[in-house]
Amino acid sequence: MDSALIPNGVRRCAFGKFLLGLAIVGAVLLWGVYAMLLCWFKGLNQTNMNDNYGFALWIWADLAVIALGGGAFFSGFLKYLVGKDELKHIINYAVLIGFICYSSALLILAIDVGQPLRSWFIFWHANVHSMLTEVAFCLSCYFGVLTIEFIPLILENRQINKVSFFHHLAHNMHEIMAVFAATGAFLSFFHQGSLGGVAGVLFGRPFAYREGLFIWPWTFFLFTWSAAAYGPCFTLLITKITESITGKKLVKDNVVELLAKISGWMMGTYIVAKIIDTIYWASVTAPSKGFQISQFYANNSFYGMWILIAEILFGGVIPALILIMPSGRKNPKARLLAIVLAVIGVCINRWVMVLQTMAIPVMSFDKWALYYPSWQEVATTVLPVAYGTILIMICYRYLPIFPQEAELNPAVD
């Protein structure tokens, strides 16, 4: 029925099956939209956040999706600026995933603030000392850049591309994409970093507080580095999931292995920096504020030392080693394991920087503030996942996202 819209030389499932898929994910989306409307019209009393716990699940989801969306800026940087040309076969998908992650982050922020209609005050009354101001500026600008990177992909739809104007527009946009990739890499460097700074500057919270270089705490650099290291893993993971669902190979192994190798080395160097940071923080910064590291992991029913081990060893050292070793990254099972561990690892890091930071009592007579999200918070966090899935379904069906697909899956008539 929609065969005129489907890219040349590739096969897609029946239209009815596609609609059924959309309807199922759409139902989840509607659940999220309902929860979102409740939060907007009834207020944030719909959440389980409280005055001791003003930053919770949403801020974690925000930091996590932005780290995972880091595959877009880093792949763009590698392809357009470093000259890794093989990555052109996966860059479209990386941009699409980045676009989904960043638009989701903006949506979550719009639900998270108490007065969404005043959000523009962040630009109008900007406090240049605040890391959140830097985040807002860079995030919005980078989302603009991602949109510009995404547009030529839409214009390459078979029917749209028939229009001469759109055809040439897409071509010309491709020609100058290096400029946008460079701008995106620059903006992303700053906002990934300032998201790290959001937690790192909290000198009233010794668990998150880090000393730093110039105006930036070390977490600024660690966040940028980790997004560059872990973001491509997420691109690879989503590619793998797409391949499993469609039952097709979509990207050649050499491309996947190259991205996995770069990601592995980035992760390896990042995790060494993270370990040094942790040792310095535990032995110098925290004691200078009156804290022993054990206090951050004791006297509560959830946060134990296991979380530090899970983040650094299982979410960092092990996946880095697997991806650095040629035998590891060439083995599909080992590679998949490393990618999954890495994605979990970076999510734990962002969780710890937001939720554990809020949970730890700072005044000695205070108690741990453990929290569980309300269903409205869960639904609004699932909402971007459903939105992303729908966007991927539509883009995969109608846009030439995977340039190698036709070659890897020759049509047999």
């Binding site: 007065q115 005043r118 005050f121 000392h129 959140l132 000695s364």
Partner: protein, 259 residues
């Protein structure tokens, strides 16, 4: 960000609370709520969503009877000066909705500019900031008793103790009318200071040697909450009990309080 005017003396309003005198009666909390139009909550069972600009903590030495000892610790906003005027909360607010006034040392909050991102709450280690999770509610008829000098706050913004700043404005106006004199000790008092039946709270200009707080803060048993974090609070406490002083700043087991 800072509004420096050289022709005005720099005051630093602050508080000294003598914990040896505090009986934990809660008058300061009630007075603060009434004075500052703090709303009630439809469901008061969830204490973590109710607003108490002044909150009295109950501290215990953790020993069993008969060695048990109790101390009550009233906690207003500490009006931190932080590093170079950057209190933990002020430096993080993206919309400059909260500010440190270098002429009074008061950390203010502009409710109509706050958009409720709650970053300031995350930054404040004293839990002194409160979010309006609900639309403000007062028991029937109570709207007639609202203080006309303090604006009520809407849902979705952050609020906190302002050291009853409106009383400072009124004191300044009075002093101006009475011959453009400087305001004197006692002209400007916070509601909790006035309400405390035990006289545990003293309020004044920490920079002025004539004011009681200036002398009291130099007491050998004076301390501030979480001093090592570098928040530089303008609320001082006095306690003759070593365990209370230790509780104030996460002392390690082998550390001395230095008093």
């Amino acid at each position: 960000m800072k509004n420096e005017q050289s022709h005005e003396t720099t005051k630093k309003f602050g508080m000294v609370i003598n914990l040896d005198l505090c009986t934990g009666c809660g008058s300061c909390m009630v007075a603060c709520m009434a004075e500052n139009n703090v709303p009630f909550k439809p469901d008061e069972t969830d204490k973590l969503k109710s607003i108490t600009w002044m909150r009295v903590y109950r501290l215990t030495n953790g020993k069993s009877f008969p060695e048990t000892d109790i101390c009550y610790l009233p906690r207003p906003c500490q009006h931190c000066e932080g590093h170079g005027g950057h209190s933990p909360c002020v430096s993080v607010c993206p919309a400059t909705a909260t500010d440190y006034d270098s002429q009074t040392g008061i950390v203010s909050q502009i409710y109509t500019r706050c958009f409720g991102c709650r970053y300031c709450m995350a930054a404040c280690p004293y839990h002194a900031r409160y979010f309006n999770w609900f639309d403000p509610v007062w028991p029937d008829g109570m709207e007639k008793y609202l203080n006309p000098n303090v604006s009520p706050r809407m849902r979705g913004v952050v609020e906190k103790c302002s050291f009853c700043y409106h009383r400072y404005q009124a004191a300044k106006d009075r002093a101006y009318v009475e011959g453009q004199r400087e305001i004197e000790e006692g002209d400007y008092q916070t509601a909790c200071t006035q309400a405390c039946p035990a006289g545990a709270i003293t309020f004044g200009d920490l920079n002025n040697p004539e004011h009681a707080v200036y002398k009291l803060k130099q007491d050998a048993n004076a301390f501030r909450l979480l001093e090592r974090l570098g928040t530089n609070p303008k609320v001082y406490y006095i306690s003759s009990k070593e365990w209370v002083r230790r509780a104030a700043d996460n002392y390690l087991p082998n550390e001395k309080t230095g008093k």
